[in-house]
């Protein structure tokens, strides 16, 4: 057995990992059953920041990610947009990454246009698009938006967008919501927006790789953080708890549908994070097992070498 694990080809480990991720996806996809989520304090802080703003507040949503990190961040982006729309906030979408506007478009198409048909472009939400310059963009728009954003992504002039009439800079925003996959992202927003202008409030959702580096900014410089897919799943649970009746599938009479337990039947696009926690559990169990086996092999090997 010892020799078997010591000489195990790494491709068997890849196969095991494939099965550990694939089987739960298929089972959850087929049955719709997921694990319950218990939101942590940091995730509650994110939820409260958006929830406690009065309706009609201005929220800047900067989607600084691309398809490479969509698996972790798209569920957060979806729920941020849903939560803001459900609360009636005005949403100013922008991006520091070149593919960010496509991520914004996806969110607008799948969430706002489908589930908030009353919201009007230019009055309730606007896509300002991408500008190159990384933190340089933040540095400029923190004092003057129009210096860089003379139009939105459709080419509409800033002055012709009704919801932009009383906005001069990021300082006019009531909240910054950032979805970050790396540079430029949450760290740069903290460095060049929130730290020099401490009155600004900011929450973020980030990839797992970034999360440990952002914890030192909490709570003074960053007021809430969704760390990786786990944070997304917990946030989904909170939003579903608060807005499940509005979010649920509806019957012909526009009444929310429920399952046998009385829980609302939530469309799959709002439970992406929760669904992905199933594969996470099984894959993490495999990882822990592999780490233990690897360490046992290491110590046995070292003891054998010591005897020689």
């Amino acid at each position: 057995m010892y020799e078997f694990f010591r000489d195990l080809d790494r491709r068997w480990i890849f196969l095991m990992m494939f099965l550990c991720v694939a089987v739960p996806i298929i089972i959850i996809g087929a049955t719709g059953k997921t694990f319950p989520e218990e939101p942590t304090q940091l995730v509650r802080a994110v939820f409260d920041e958006i929830e406690n703003l009065p309706s009609g507040s201005k929220v800047l949503l900067s989607y600084d990610y691309d398809p490479a990190s969509e698996g972790e961040l798209a569920p957060m982006a979806t729920m941020f947009a849903y939560h803001c729309a459900a609360k009636g906030h005005k949403m100013y979408f922008m991006a520091l990454w070149p593919v960010g506007p496509q991520m914004v478009d996806d969110t607008i198409e799948n969430i706002i246009k489908k589930d908030f048909k009353d919201l009007k472009y230019g009055e309730d939400y606007v896509n300002l698009g991408y500008k190159s310059g990384y933190e340089g963009v933040i540095k400029v728009i923190i004092t003057d938006f129009t210096e860089l954003y003379s139009t939105d992504t459709r080419g509409t002039p800033w002055s012709a967008i009704p919801m932009c009439h009383d906005v001069n800079s990021v300082q006019d925003m009531d909240l910054i919501v950032n979805v970050s996959a790396g540079y430029a992202g949450t760290k740069e927003w903290v460095q060049y927006a929130v730290t020099p202008y401490p009155k600004l409030r900011m929450v973020a959702g980030c990839t797992g790789v970034q999360a440990p580096l952002l914890y030192p900014y909490i709570p003074q410089q960053l007021h809430g953080l969704l760390g990786a897919i786990k944070g997304a799943a917990e946030y989904e649970a909170l939003v579903i708890e608060a807005y499940g009746d509005k979010m649920a599938r509806k019957d012909a009479g526009d009444n929310p549908l429920t399952d046998d337990n009385g829980d609302y039947l939530i469309p799959g696009k709002y439970t992406e994070g929760i669904r992905r926690m199933g594969p996470q559990l099984v894959a993490h169990l495999l990882m822990i097992l592999l780490i233990i086996v690897g360490n046992v092999i290491y110590f046995v090997e070292r003891r054998r070498e010591g005897r020689r």
Partner: protein
């Protein structure tokens, strides 16, 4: 022929056969679109210079009674129309066909179907590297590099150079050419970055490449300055302030001693001081300093462990979304978004009673 080659050939052939059958019998991997007519009319007053296009049948058109006549009766120079195809679900397509077999508002989309198949096959090509390096992986890798480079260039041109450089220096030209709504007056300060940009391009010239060093020096200098201020404010001064916290915390609501908050603050202070001690090399790491530095290593190791755990979680999430794409959009094994009719929802439907 080598045994390994034979095995892989058989696996590939069986896989291809299953894919073809799955596609032919169930339509797996196909995509559908909905045709949305886009009709606009120009409602500008006669003699008005700028056109004022509004959507025909829009709220404004009804409110202002601007579009009282049928669209086809409006003079051709005052109307524009085209068809936009929006993504539709199989369920919608089947429902429209059931209601009216001649309804072509919902239709099969060859281009989007090809997109799904190319995305799926490229995903598999990239995964194939886990077995070993191979030509399929190389094709996918090269395509990603090429497409990314082209995409960055196009985005950079249309989102930055046109509106933020040409639009500032020659707004009239840009207005006439690409952004009709641009209202900014000329701002000739933007000639400076234009000249610096042209100087930077001089590096490509075989002669006088030194000219490119001036704008480069400018970029490096300004970037260093901006970064320095950012780090000093947010990461140095603010982090010192964030570490000055009470070791005995009091619950603000009840006024009583808050044990867990006090413990958290104590760990933060000890962690910061011991980790800093580890990186303080002016004193030999012996005695109290050595023990504190060793404690600092423990804190660092715990941090690295947490970072590793988070990274694993992130990578598994990325792997999961690719598999979800393959199983849902491509193979139609699962349907978590409820996009297909029940009979197409899952290949696993015979096993549903067992799965609960």
């Amino acid at each position: 022929m080598k045994k390994e080659t034979v095995i892989w050939t058989v696996v590939m052939l069986v896989g291809a056969l299953v894919l073809v059958l799955n596609g032919a019998l169930r339509g797996a991997g196909s995509a559908y679109v909905k045709a949305v007519p886009m009709q606009f009319v120009n409602v500008a007053e006669p003699g008005e210079v700028n056109a004022d296009w509004i959507r025909y049948n829009s709220d404004r058109a009804f409110d202002e009674k601007l579009c009282t006549q049928p669209f086809e009766d409006i003079p051709e120079d005052l109307r524009e129309s085209w068809v936009r195809y929006e993504q539709a679900e199989l369920g919608e397509y089947l429902a429209s066909r059931a209601a009216d077999p001649n309804d072509d508002n919902y239709r099969f989309s060859l281009s989007q179907t090809l997109g799904i198949w190319v995305a799926a096959l490229f995903t598999l090509f990239i995964f194939s590297f886990l077995y070993k390096d191979n030509p399929f992986y190389k094709i996918a890798e090269s395509s990603v590099v090429g497409v990314s480079a082209a995409y960055w260039m196009v985005i950079g041109f249309w989102d930055v150079i046109v509106p933020n450089l040409l639009g500032k220096v020659a707004p009239a030209m840009v207005r006439a050419w690409s952004i009709p709504g641009l209202e900014d007056p000329p701002n000739y300060w933007y000639l400076v970055p234009l000249i610096l940009g042209l100087m930077l391009l001089w590096r490509l010239s075989p002669k006088g490449s030194w000219i490119g060093r001036w704008p480069l020096a400018f970029v490096i200098g300004t970037t260093a300055g901006i970064r320095l201020i950012g780090f000093i404010q947010a990461d140095f001064l603010s982090q010192i302030r964030n570490t000055v916290i009470p070791l005995i915390a009091i619950d603000s609501a009840t006024g009583s001693f808050a044990f867990w908050d006090s413990l958290k603050n104590l760990i933060i202070v000890i962690g910061v001081l011991s980790a800093l001690t580890y990186f303080f090399f002016s004193v030999e790491h012996k005695g109290v300093v050595g023990k504190t530095a060793r404690l600092g290593i423990w804190f660092l190791m715990i941090t690295f462990g947490a970072a590793f755990g988070y990274t694993v979680m992130g990578r598994i999430a990325l792997f999961a979304i690719r598999l979800e794409f393959l199983f849902d959009d491509w193979l139609w094994l699962i349907d978590p978004l409820g996009r297909r009719a029940a009979e197409y929802a899952s290949l696993l439907w015979p096993a549903m009673p067992l799965l609960g």
